[in-house]
């Protein structure tokens, strides 16, 4: 049993296994792309990659917020419901144009995030239960707002988020890239980022050293929900319709998987932003590969499960250090 403790001190850097542990998710992407290069016709086409990137955008944006929450040793199950709520308010405000609609949707998300954050930060409810209750109530609220109806969205401004491109790059992909950069700077270059990682490392130590722990936690949940709201708007723009009953269903699981496969431990204290991007891309490429080879849904799910396990198994040496 002491093996687990011993393996921590063994230097893994430098060895081949160490490389795998450190860059597991990137190596997995390279292997998968190499496989597709040889065995999947038409995979390496600009159009295909454009489709893949457009499809990964909502999960990626949600995963960015999720990574912040997980960095504080929390979790947010309500992100899918927030996407649905954002979708539900769009038809109500779409007449005012793109920017007001986007702002209202983000505001609604932020309010929901504040509810999550208040429960977690000020009352001390365990994040998984707090956000579970918001997930259930939020989806119901979204359906109430939308009168349980699917509404088509025709505003060209909103639709452009899902359909238009600048210099061949879809706008949604540009937004996602900006958000990845923004969150990376937030985590690595700001006091706020250092503080949220400190909380995840040890909340007690962070409190004792005088950090405004509660305020930071609140803000992290607000940010996560606001990002989910952006994902909700983009998702709605892509569909050309507000579908609060299904938009974002089970996205919390994909987002958490992307974050963890990307090397951010669930035990908090670290946030890997680029890893999260890689994790989301890996999941996207896996499902695309399976679809392109006409693997039935049942086996595709089993294959995804096995690949996720493999990717995390390779990296597990790192997690043990914590």
């Amino acid at each position: 049993m002491t093996q687990a403790t011993v393996s921590v001190s063994v230097p893994t850097r430098g060895s081949v296994l160490g490389l795998f542990q450190k860059y597991g998710v990137y190596i997995a992407i390279v292997l998968l792309l190499a496989y597709n290069l040889f065995f999947t016709p038409n995979f390496f086409a600009v159009d295909n990659f454009r489709t893949q990137f457009v499809q990964v955008v909502p999960v990626l944006i949600v995963a960015l917020g999720m990574a912040l929450v997980i960095g504080t040793e929390g979790i947010d199950l309500s992100v899918g419901a927030v996407m649905a709520l954002a979708a539900a308010v769009i038809p109500l405000y779409v007449g005012y144009g793109l920017v007001p609609t986007l702002l209202i949707a983000i505001l609604v998300g932020a309010v929901i995030g504040a509810v999550n954050g208040s429960m977690v930060a000020f009352i001390g409810v365990q994040p998984i239960v707090a956000t579970l209750s918001v997930m259930v109530a939020g989806r119901g609220l979204a359906l109430l707002v939308a009168n349980e109806q699917l509404k088509s969205v025709t505003d060209p401004g909103v639709l452009s988020l899902g359909r238009d491109s600048v210099l061949g790059v879809p706008i949604s992909v540009i937004i996602a890239a900006v958000l990845v950069g923004g969150v990376a700077i937030l985590v690595n270059r700001t006091t706020f980022g250092k503080q949220l990682i400190a909380i995840g490392g040890s909340r007690r130590a962070a409190e004792l050293s005088g950090l405004p722990v509660k305020r930071i936690l609140l803000l992290v949940y607000v940010l996560c929900a606001a990002l989910a709201a952006v994902a909700g708007v983009i998702g709605t723009a892509r569909l050309g319709a507000s579908v609060p009953s299904t938009l974002g269903n089970l996205i919390e699981l994909s987002a958490i998987t992307a974050v963890v496969v990307g090397g951010t431990p669930l035990s908090g204290g670290q946030v890997k932003v680029l890893g999260t991007l890689a994790g989301a891309l890996l999941l996207q490429f896996i499902s695309a590969t399976l679809i392109k080879h006409n693997v039935p849904d049942a086996y595709s799910q089993i294959a995804q499960a096995i690949i996720i396990l493999l990717a995390v198994y390779i990296q597990r040496g790192k997690a043990r250090v914590k």
């Binding site: 365990q126 579970l132 431990p265 035990s267």
Partner: protein, 332 residues
Amino acid sequence: MTTTLEPAAGPTTDAQATRERIASLLQSYGAAIVLVILLVLGSIAFPTFATGSNFANVLTQSSFLLIVGAGMTFVILTGGIDLSVGSVFALGGVLAAFGSTYGIVGALLFPLIVCGAIGAVQGLLVAYAGMAPFIVTLAGLLGVRGLVLAATDGGSTTPLISDPAVVNLGQGAVFGIHWPVFIAIVVVVVGSVLLARTRGGQSVLAVGGSESASTLMGLPVARVKFSVYVVSGLCAGLAGALNAAYSSSGVPTVGVGLELNAISAVVIGGTLLVGGRGNLVGTVAGVLLLSVIQNLINQVGSLNSSVQAVVSGAFLAIVVIIQTVLSRTQRL
């Protein structure tokens, strides 16, 4: 608190001790207390609530979740989590339907063996490969649902149960109470005895309390962690089999989101997600609380499904907030 301790130090600390004792009781029995309050209020508000048949109905609805929740309690007590139970529940049902051609033995043994094996694989990965329980069982959630789909032509076929003995296991009743309720009670009693009175059960609590301390004490930490996932797999499979018997078919789409209900029932029941503290009696109260909330919402017949979702989410939030506030007084 310390500022009030000026002249009368003695009485204040006494009062403090009493307060802490009350808070500790409230945390352990918080769910039970809220449950009793709800039962009383519900009986006053709705004439159709406090009837024998309605209570029997609540018990039947609770029994499947309770069996799943019992297994989940073991896992959470070690500081782990099992997200795969919803998919395993569905697999248990489908396999019970397949196995029912060999009678009641086949209908129970077949799902128990396979679901126990799935728990064992997850347990191996968590306990011996050192992987995070959340990820292992998340992959389980995906992969096992894939198995269910593979076994039912992509979910398009629903294997039926025709053996009357198997159907009777789900639908038969004594004193108006269905068999699954009795089986759930047996599971909880056996589980409670295991936890409180055996070496293995005490090890579960110890591992959840502190893994490194347990290792130092020479407890078989890996074996304990491995076994709780087997227990959880067995429980989810059993619950799925009973549910299939109750509905006389193995529906491949059941159990989606069941893991979240089971986890919230366990947490509402006072078991800490970090492990080491909690019990099955709390889980019983947590499961009943969730079922009663749902039943009360149904009593207000006019509510549509989205209002129901808002109410049950808000209710869950209020319950956990009350409980957290109560337990915080004690933690200080």
